[in-house]
Amino acid sequence: MIRSLDNDTLLGLWERMARIRAFETRVGEIAAAKEVAGYLHTYSGQEAVACGVIPLLRDDDWFTSTYRNHGHAIARDIPLDEIAGEIYGKVTGVCGGKGGSMHVADQSRGMIGGMGIVAGGLPIATGAALASKYLGRDSVAVAFFGDGAVHQGAWHEALEFASLFQCPVVFVCENNLYAETTAVDYHLLAGSVSAMTGPYQIPSVQIDGMDVFAVRAATAAAFERARTGNGPSLIEAMTYRYGGQYEGDTQTYKPPTEVAYWRGQDPLLRFRSDTATRLGMATLDAIEQSVQVEVDAAFTAAEAAPWPDISEVTTDVYTPIA
C-alpha cells in the first residue's frame, strides 16, 4: 500500500493525523481548565481510522459521524477555526455555535454531521447512499459508528435496508474496545462486529485500525465495491480511545497494561516508523510543528470570537420559504 502512494499523499495523511492529535490534545487541556462547558469527546488514538477513510471520499460523497467527530471533521479538512469555534459555541463555529462539539457538520464537504444518538447516523448514511443509487451516480456514503452501536435497533435496520436495496454505503466501525465504561468483551457476543453481518449478507472485514494504510486499503476496496454497484460493506477497525468516554471521565475501568499495549500501537508512531526513512523525520517533525501553530491559532481565534446573537435561539428551526 505505502509503496503505491506518492509523497504528497503520504504527507497529507501525516498532516491530518498530526492535526487531529494536536487539536484533541488541546481540547483535553481546555476541558481540564474548564474553559469550555459541555461534553467533549476526543478522538486521540483513533486518527488512523478517520485518515484512512475520509481522504478517499470524493466531493460528491457523504458521511455521518457521531458525538466523537472532531477527527472526522479535521480529516475532511474543515478549517480548525470553524471546529474550535463550534466547540466554544461561537458565531465562527461551523454550525454557528448551535450544535457544539457533538454536532460538528459541514454538508458542503459531505459531512452530514455529528450525531448524539448511538447508531442514529447509520440509517441516514444508508439513505444518502440510496439517493446516490437512485440518481444513477457512483457516489458513496460512509457511516462511522462505535463498537457500542451494534446492538441498537437502528444498526440492525440500517444494515438490512442497505443490503435489501444494495445501497452504496460503507459502515465503518471504530472498535475502540469500550462503549463508555463497558468493554466489548462483555457485550460483543459474536466476538467481533465483522462477524455480525452474515444475516444481512454484507461483506465485512476486521482490520488494524492503528495502521492508516490498512484502513486506506480496506476503504479503497469497499468504495470500489460500492461505486461499481456491488452494494454495502462493513469495515471493523480495531483501535483505542486514549481519552475517556468524555473529557473528565476518570477511566478507572481501563487496565494499565491494556493502555500501555495500545499506546505502543499509536497510529502516529506507526506512521513514523513506516515512513520515516522515505519522508525523513525532519519533515514529519516540521509538519507537527506547523499543525500545532494552526491549532494554537484556531483556539485563540475561537476564544476571541463573538457569541452568536440571542435572536439566534429561534432561527434555523425551519427553512425559510422563498
Binding site: 457523504w62 458542503s108 444518538i117 441516514i124 440518481l135 427553512t319
Partner: protein, 343 residues
C-alpha cells in the same frame, strides 16, 4: 375542473401528480405497493395492496419499484433512510402504516429529522414527508386507533398537517411534498371514504392557514381533523336553537394559525376545542391555552375541551363509541358555557 373524490383518492392523486412532476419524489413503506418478492414468478402479485387502505394503489404500475419502494418492517431503517436521502437531494414520502407504530422510529423523527437543521446551524434541510394513519372508530383497538398529534406538535422542527377533507388532503399533501422541512402528514382512517369536490390540477394549500368551515357569532368551535365534521354536526343542532357556532379547522397544527382562532374567539367570546385525542398535553389544551392567554379579555365563559378519555382506545364497539366525542357532547359543552352567566 373539480370532481368528486374521496380523501383516499385525493391523496393518491396528489402523490401521482407530484411524482410525475418531480423525479426526486419517491415513496417508501411497508406494502405500499404490495406483492414484493413475487414480481417475477407471479406478476399478479404486484400492486396487491397499495397499503392497508389502498391509498397508494396504482402508483407502482406508473412509477415502478424504484420509486414505490416496499420496505421490510423496519420503520427506523426506512425513516432514517428517508432523512439521508432527503439530505442527499431526494424528496422521500414515507408511510408509517399506523401512527401507533411511531414509537418504532421516533428517535429518527425527534432527534434527526426535526433537529438536524437547527444543530447544524441552518445549513441543511430535511424535506421528508411522513404519511401516517390515525384515529379511532375503526374497531381497531388500542394499538391501531391513536392520534398522537400532540407528540409531533410538541417537537420544534416538525410540521404537522391533518386534513379533514379531500380537497384539503390533496392541497396540503402537495404542499407537504414541496416543503423543505419534515412534515408529518396525518390521515384519518375514518375519513378516507369521505367525498368532496377536488380540483383536478395540482394545487398547494399553504400551511398555517385555518379554514373557517362555518361562520357564527355565538361560540367558536375548533375541531381537530375528524372532529371538524362532528363540530359541524353539533353546529347544525345548535343552530336549530338559534345558537350560531363558528367552526374552525386549523388544518395544520404546526404551524398553527393562531390568528384566525383568536379573531374568532374575540368575536364570539366563547371557545370549545374538540379533539378525539387523550386530553392531557393535547392539541385541545394547546389551543385552549392559546386563547386563555391571548384572547382572555374577550372570553365570556370557561374554555371547554371535548376530548377522548385519559384511557387507551377500547375495542368493544359501544365503549369505542363512548370514547369518541360526538355531537351531543359538543352541544352539551356549548350549552354548559352559555348557561353559566356571562361575566
Amino acid at each position: 375542473m373539480t370532481r368528486t373524490l374521496n380523501v383516499k383518492d385525493a391523496i393518491n392523486e396528489a402523490l401521482r401528480q407530484e411524482m410525475a412532476a418531480d423525479n426526486r419524489v419517491i415513496l417508501m413503506g411497508e406494502d405500499i405497493a404490495g406483492g414484493a418478492g413475487r414480481d417475477a414468478d407471479y406478476p399478479p402479485a404486484a400492486d396487491a395492496w397499495g397499503g392497508p387502505f389502498g391509498v397508494t394503489q396504482g402508483l407502482l404500475p406508473l412509477f415502478g419499484r424504484e420509486r414505490v419502494i416496499d420496505t421490510a418492517i423496519a420503520e427506523t431503517g426506512f425513516v432514517g433512510a428517508a432523512i439521508g436521502a432527503a439530505i442527499a437531494g431526494l424528496r422521500p414520502v414515507v408511510e408509517i402504516m399506523y401512527v401507533d407504530f411511531i414509537g418504532t422510529s421516533f428517535d429518527q423523527l425527534l432527534n434527526h429529522a426535526a433537529k438536524l437543521r437547527y444543530v447544524y446551524g441552518g445549513k441543511v434541510s430535511v424535506p421528508i414527508v411522513v404519511r401516517t394513519v390515525a384515529g379511532a372508530g375503526f374497531r381497531a383497538a388500542a394499538e391501531h386507533s391513536q392520534t398522537l398529534y400532540s407528540l409531533y406538535t410538541h417537537v420544534p422542527g416538525l410540521k404537522v398537517v391533518a386534513p379533514a377533507t379531500a380537497a384539503d388532503a390533496k392541497g396540503l399533501l402537495i404542499s407537504a411534498i414541496r416543503d423543505p422541512d419534515p412534515v408529518i402528514f396525518i390521515e384519518h382512517k375514518r375519513l378516507y371514504m369521505e367525498d368532496d369536490e377536488v380540483p383536478e390540477e395540482p394545487y398547494a394549500i399553504p400551511f398555517g392557514v385555518a379554514r373557517i368551515v362555518r361562520s357564527g357569532r355565538d361560540v367558536t368551535i375548533v375541531g381537530v381533523q375528524k372532529m371538524v365534521h362532528t363540530a359541524v354536526e353539533a353546529a347544525t343542532l345548535l343552530s336549530r336553537d338559534g345558537i350560531e357556532a363558528e367552526v374552525i379547522d386549523p388544518r395544520t397544527y404546526s404551524p398553527l394559525d393562531s390568528e384566525t382562532i383568536l379573531q374568532s374567539v374575540e368575536k364570539t367570546g366563547r371557545l370549545v376545542v374538540v379533539d378525539e385525542s387523550h386530553p392531557r398535553c393535547s392539541l385541545a389544551t394547546d389551543i385552549a391555552a392559546l386563547a386563555a392567554d391571548a384572547a382572555f379579555h374577550s372570553l365570556r365563559g370557561p374554555i371547554k375541551m371535548v376530548t377522548g378519555a385519559h384511557a387507551p382506545v377500547p375495542f368493544s364497539p359501544p365503549l369505542e363509541d363512548a370514547y369518541i366525542p360526538d355531537a351531543a357532547r359538543i352541544v352539551a359543552a356549548v350549552r354548559d358555557q352559555l348557561d353559566k352567566k356571562a361575566r
